[in-house]
Symmetry: C2
Subunit: 435 residues, 2 copies
Amino acid sequence: MPPGRRHRTDLPRRPHVVIVGAGFGGLTAAQGLKCAAVDLTVIDRRNFHLFQPLLYQVATAGLNPADIAWPVRSILRRQRNATVLLGEVTGVDKAAAAVVLGDGRVIPFDRLIIATGATHNYFGHDEWARVAPGLKRIDDATLIRRRVLAAFERAENSLTTGTEDVEIRRLMTFAIVGGGPTGVELSGAIAELAKKALAADFRNIDPRSTRIVLIEGGRSVLGHFPPSLSAFARRSLEEMGVEVRLETQVTNCDANGVTCGDERIPAANIFWAAGVAASPAARWIGAAADRAGRVLVKADFSVPGHENIFVVGDVAALEQDGRPIPGIAPAAKQAGAYVAAIIAAQAAGKPRPPPFRYRHYGNLATIGRNSAVIDFGSLRLKGRLAWWLWGVAHIFFLIGTRNRLLVAAQWFYSYLTFGRGARLMVGSDNPSIER
Amino acid sequence: MPPGRRHRTDLPRRPHVVIVGAGFGGLTAAQGLKCAAVDLTVIDRRNFHLFQPLLYQVATAGLNPADIAWPVRSILRRQRNATVLLGEVTGVDKAAAAVVLGDGRVIPFDRLIIATGATHNYFGHDEWARVAPGLKRIDDATLIRRRVLAAFERAENSLTTGTEDVEIRRLMTFAIVGGGPTGVELSGAIAELAKKALAADFRNIDPRSTRIVLIEGGRSVLGHFPPSLSAFARRSLEEMGVEVRLETQVTNCDANGVTCGDERIPAANIFWAAGVAASPAARWIGAAADRAGRVLVKADFSVPGHENIFVVGDVAALEQDGRPIPGIAPAAKQAGAYVAAIIAAQAAGKPRPPPFRYRHYGNLATIGRNSAVIDFGSLRLKGRLAWWLWGVAHIFFLIGTRNRLLVAAQWFYSYLTFGRGARLMVGSDNPSIER
């Protein structure tokens, strides 16, 4: 036995389940198989599970990356039938029933669960991604944070470089494309950052005059909420100084600004929060997909013609009662748990669980300090109470006592002081100003 | 008045003090000039002040970057005579009495305080920096954290790639060069990370068999401590499983390991914590420097022949009673405060303060959980009590209530659980394993 290598006993072979992606869907599936008579390999290209709903807080310097992310190994350390593998899946060899990694490794499976999520959609203009980053990963969040903070630094520097006022104005303009929860949260958080936390930090510029434009193609922000709550969200944003443009299509993005039809909005900072593009799982397995690239799965989340391959979460498309199951964390978790129940039942030789029923608990979105909207169907809340409930719900769902306590402490401190502590520009997006 | 630009009143011109570097020396100087009749510009290439003594905790996943760094603008927001400028100084135009920035901007000064610090010294082998990163900046810390965590991930992956045992052993070997406080703290923290926090996280490898080698050229670790404490530190490290090599010179570093004379230590992970190389301030001002590049300053920290230029902190060399003033945070802060007192007195037309006397409060170094050494001269402590004192002292000196509370909370949680929460591999040092 060489040093550093664990002793491995040779047990009778159990079914090998491979889970690709350790987001809400994949992780819940893994945890649901804890007591099942299977061996489990969880593959992710990052070493952590990310609590995406709070990513905009990292982008706007309210939280640290480690507050909303948790090592997958830690989460699964006590689950002895689970092995975690850091690696990037690039394809599935259906004939060999194996997953193929980017470094050439091949991981055979008896059952495969694909839970690789989705990202934003630039509507055929992928070149906009460079000037208008989306917000899906930790690195996106730190990139956006760097750009937000650097924008004010550049504007402040303008005094010593004799920059013209129109350029200062452009540097201090933020355009956010997409009026869903992410776009609304990001707009609100940038408004608070500029108008409260940074207000006294600069000498040459006044961050309170920051221009924030939220651009939405549809007829309302938070379009999946009831009209009264959408209208409330819009009013709240406008009271915070955000310009809300509805029924407005972006026709071009470049380093200098956004074009919407005839209107040009000069903006040095453009962030993208629109559209859905599923990860390329459909291509890996050669399955039928919808326009967003989501795999059209059967009612048990298996892929038609491949009973041993399941797709859950944002990368799957499934309708229930004629309505699509939404691409939100609770739906992904329910799907992951259901597939785990199927596989556990198969392994135990028991009958299948009853058909899947998606249970919708409600929609939550926060707009800013003391302002959120909640739609529980029969119960609709807006304003301060909704905001506190939103905060409690999000802290409750964070994994691990440590993260809950730390996030709660930071929020409480920020609430009292209007400050945002995590205002570090780290990394090297723009070496000229940061290095 | 254009939007976004603050109203500027035209006051009679006051002396303009430029401070380059917002570390301990520069920041203390800025704060010491709060009530002085001067205008102040603080220039730093990063937007934060870094509490370097705890950087190794970020490198070993105990703390978040934002816990030990604080935006310079925040610290100085209420100091109305101070302006903060984000920029990289590349030279000093002595004839014009102006600082030159990398982007071509020129900032004139009446008084200049250079506090740009020092980094490690590869003893003429700067090419080793690539394989053996030092630990001076936040980005160094996140790079080292990524490499430490990636090392275990690669070793774990070895099962599926059929790697040989000797290679697994190499992946799990850490060589730390330099037995000063940084090297000792880093060795101890990696040992704890591997042998406690990660012990249960892997399935194929056993992190407890990690090999950690601390290489020191001198006759003891923590050579500036009394022999009894140095010996205690060495014993503590060895009890934690660290191999301590004394009187050992590194003759080569490459991607596969370290060579020390006849001995070859195969190691995938080499970290550098040896030597001192001052930042290039001496070259900027054409001043005499010692071998480490530190400017040889007069007893009032002014540069010989340039009464209006001061150099403080790790980038200055000054002896007192025949002994060099050490390159530690308290010394930099005392020098910064003293220079501020001189400039404030000049601006007020008052007599100069009495000659500078460096006051040495003591040396502290931590080795691991429940183990530290403290030398207050007459009082020497080691072990558990020293460790608690070390913790209290470091939390006390952190800037800001928020950081103190958060760091205390995280340490307390880690102390109870042996866990290290901030185990994220972010950024892109090694895209093959991380993206």
